[in-house]
């Protein structure tokens, strides 16, 4: 199960499938909160034409597994999925998906927001943004 719920992949993911995978875990799920990160056309005032993500294979997956495990331990949620794409990503394309499911909505909101913040903090994934000046490594995402 955890294999489907944690993934770093080059191909696009399906939000519908990820939600269905999480919902399949329990009929006690009453709330699913989803965070979807998308490639924006503007960053710090610059027009972005392209994004590219790379990760530390092995360590990055381990960190996502660890975020899921800590979310299940520390929040009153029933299941969580975390998917992240790597490689070239066009503007408007999905980058990252977090799905948090709980009986009541507050728990799913809290866990989902924590998980995306934690993902940005601890997961060895890096991106380049391509502007008219070329591709540059982004050194920090808020």
């Amino acid at each position: 199960m955890a294999n489907k719920l944690i993934s770093i992949q080059t191909e696009p993911f399906s939000v519908e499938t990820a939600i269905a995978d999480v919902k399949a875990v329990s009929n006690g799920i009453g709330a699913v909160v989803t965070f979807l990160g998308i490639g924006r056309d503007i960053s710090k005032g610059e027009v972005i034409t392209d994004l590219n993500f790379e990760h530390y294979p092995g360590m990055a997956e381990k960190k996502l597994e660890d975020i899921r495990a800590r979310a299940l331990l520390n929040f009153n949620i029933i299941e969580m999925a975390i998917l992240h794409r790597i490689g070239p990503i066009a503007i408007g394309e999905d980058i990252v998906l977090i799905v948090a499911a709980s009986a009541h909505r507050n728990d799913a909101f809290m866990a989902c927001e924590w998980a995306i913040t934690e993902l940005k903090r601890v997961t060895p994934i890096w991106k380049t943004e391509t502007t008219s000046k070329g591709a540059v490594w982004v050194s920090q995402t808020p």
Partner: protein
């Protein structure tokens, strides 16, 4: 042999994705850093930045931790995933 991996902008600066270093006895992360900088001086500014993390066998490590033969060490610039 100990493998050192360079990610993101570090790969560009080092000119390689990874490099093997022949470390016979265990050394600290700080000592390993000096060995690497002697070999690839272009990395000096980047590796001495306070925002650079180091991992040993895919766990975040610190300057006084030791690394041994067979370990996988990586230098991790600030993350920008998500």
């Amino acid at each position: 042999m100990l493998q050192v991996k360079f990610f993101a902008m570090l790969r560009g600066i080092a000119g390689v994705e990874s490099k093997e270093f022949d470390i016979s006895a265990p050394v600290t992360v700080r000592e390993l850093k000096e060995i690497i900088l002697a070999d690839i001086p272009a990395l000096t500014e980047a590796l001495e930045s306070r925002s650079m993390l180091i991992s040993v066998n895919q766990e975040v490590a610190h300057d006084n931790d030791t690394v041994s033969d067979g370990d996988e060490v990586a230098f991790l610039p600030p993350f920008s995933g998500g």
